[in-house]
Symmetry: none
DNA sequence: GACCTAGATTTGTCCGGACATTTGATCCCT
DNA sequence: AGGGATCAAATGTCCGGACAAATCTAGGTC
């Protein structure tokens, strides 16, 4: 193995690539054990450190399992990509109960500071219109959730329509501005009801809350709307129902 | 640093934990440069290899950036969720990170009392085999989640295989018993780390936790496996990424 | 056949060393 | 003031070695 020349990969990467190639081609099969470290040392004329660095690359890709005393076992032919499953329709995914109402509480222009930029995964300093709203059910005394919607400022004129036409915010933007949602990214994580939201949500500060962050991307690949919702734990559950065999009727799917 | 005693962490992990603690506490601040490798060698009386192994742990957690000629810069006070789950197919939906291990902690027969029956959405009085397990990431010092798996008693024989063949529990049942998953229902809600789980999860009691309940239904429409997982809030984020236009290659879909 | 022990195999951890590469700072010359 | 060369500092890569720990297998004994 001869690195050191210009543009050549380090030895450990060359070895990693060779092993990955063997696995991808099926020469090394899932379930099989790789040659031991010492054997690879002999075969490729490199140090054990180099071999271990190469194997670590495969490990990071999820292609192999290493275990002391046992050896290195192939466990996937290809590293798994990060993609998403298909659902019926985004509107169904986003849907709240039919009898719920979204009531805008406030709106203001904000510039994304470092913390907000990280939360929204946008550029620090970028400007957004922040619309805060409370969703209530007619049938329930307590609010369902609190949502902060961040819009590109050019879509400010949809704010008066929010909660009024039975459409979701991104649908209002599609309807009024011709913007087209190409991709939606949804993140769910555990949060807590903050002191600030305890009042509006009528929930004890510090109680559990389900945080859902949604990014709506247009054709150009940039997000034009981002929403952050807090759902007190006892009032909201996010559910998926998967069934083998059904083909989604919508054109939404994983990419 | 004195490892070698029973149950003690390797030196590189002790050093990693010390540095992580400094970063989490703010003693090492975001944007600051860590002491160089040679300085850490001198300060902690370990080899440069050990220092580099420790720094790799921080790197894997997303806490630091290392660059040749510049140094090691702190870039996050806390690690981003240990795992962001984005998926292509339902089987991937159920998958956890490539380098995670599920370790069975206990198993016992239980009869569903009223509370459990409601949680599991099963009949009160029905009998289940409850298997408790902890999932850990190789690359993360803290456990990812705690899972209670409830199985029909007739599938008790798969328990010794759990965590051993790289298969999910329902796949073990399919493989060993010919049971067929026809439908999976996934529910996400906000929870809290209970007193009981604070120890095993190494997370403060009362801190937020993402609860995921999964029901696996067979052809007859009855659930044969139900799992309840608790993920401390700072270690897990559930993500969906939807894109218009692509057709899923799998036959699963929502209904 | 079951059990126990010893040995072999394999990866995990740790050490010390050396050189390569990258980056930034400093100094000198024009 | 600007540009180039040099040097120092830092991480990246590679080597060889040693011992620890985990696992499995073979052989012997009961």
């Amino acid at each position: 193995m001869t690195p050191g020349s210009h543009g050549q990969q380090p030895r450990y990467r060359q070895l990693a690539d060779a092993l990955i190639g063997d696995i991808n081609r099926g020469r090394l099969k899932v379930g099989e054990t790789l040659p031991g470290e010492l054997e690879l040392v002999g075969r490729f004329k490199v140090s054990r450190h180099t071999v271990r660095e190469a194997l670590r690359v495969l490990d990071d890709l999820g292609l192999i399992d290493r275990q002391q005393g046992i050896g290195t076992v192939v466990r996937a032919r290809q590293s798994s990509p990060a993609y998403v499953q298909s659902v019926r329709t985004p509107s169904e995914l986003m849907r709240y109960p039919a009898d719920s109402r979204l009531v805008v509480v406030s709106s203001a222009k904000v510039k994304a500071n470092r913390t907000l930029a990280r939360l929204l995964d946008v550029r620090t300093g970028s400007e957004w219109l922040k619309v805060s709203a409370l969703r209530r059910l007619k049938s329930a005394p307590l609010p369902l959730n609190w949502t902060d919607v961040y819009l590109l400022p050019e879509f400010a004129d949809v704010v008066p329509q929010i909660g009024k036409r039975g459409l979701l915010v991104y649908q209002l933007i599609e309807s009024i501005h011709g913007e087209h949602v190409d991709r939606i990214q949804v993140q769910l994580r555990a949060g807590l009801v903050t002191a600030e939201l305890a009042g509006p949500l009528e929930s004890p500060e510090g109680s559990p809350s389900l945080t859902i962050v949604r990014h709506y991307f247009g054709r150009g690949g940039r997000p034009f709307e981002i929403s952050v919702s807090e759902h007190p734990g006892d009032r909201y559950m996010y559910a998926l129902d998967l069934q083998r065999g059904w083909q989604s009727s919508d054109t939404w799917s994983t990419r």
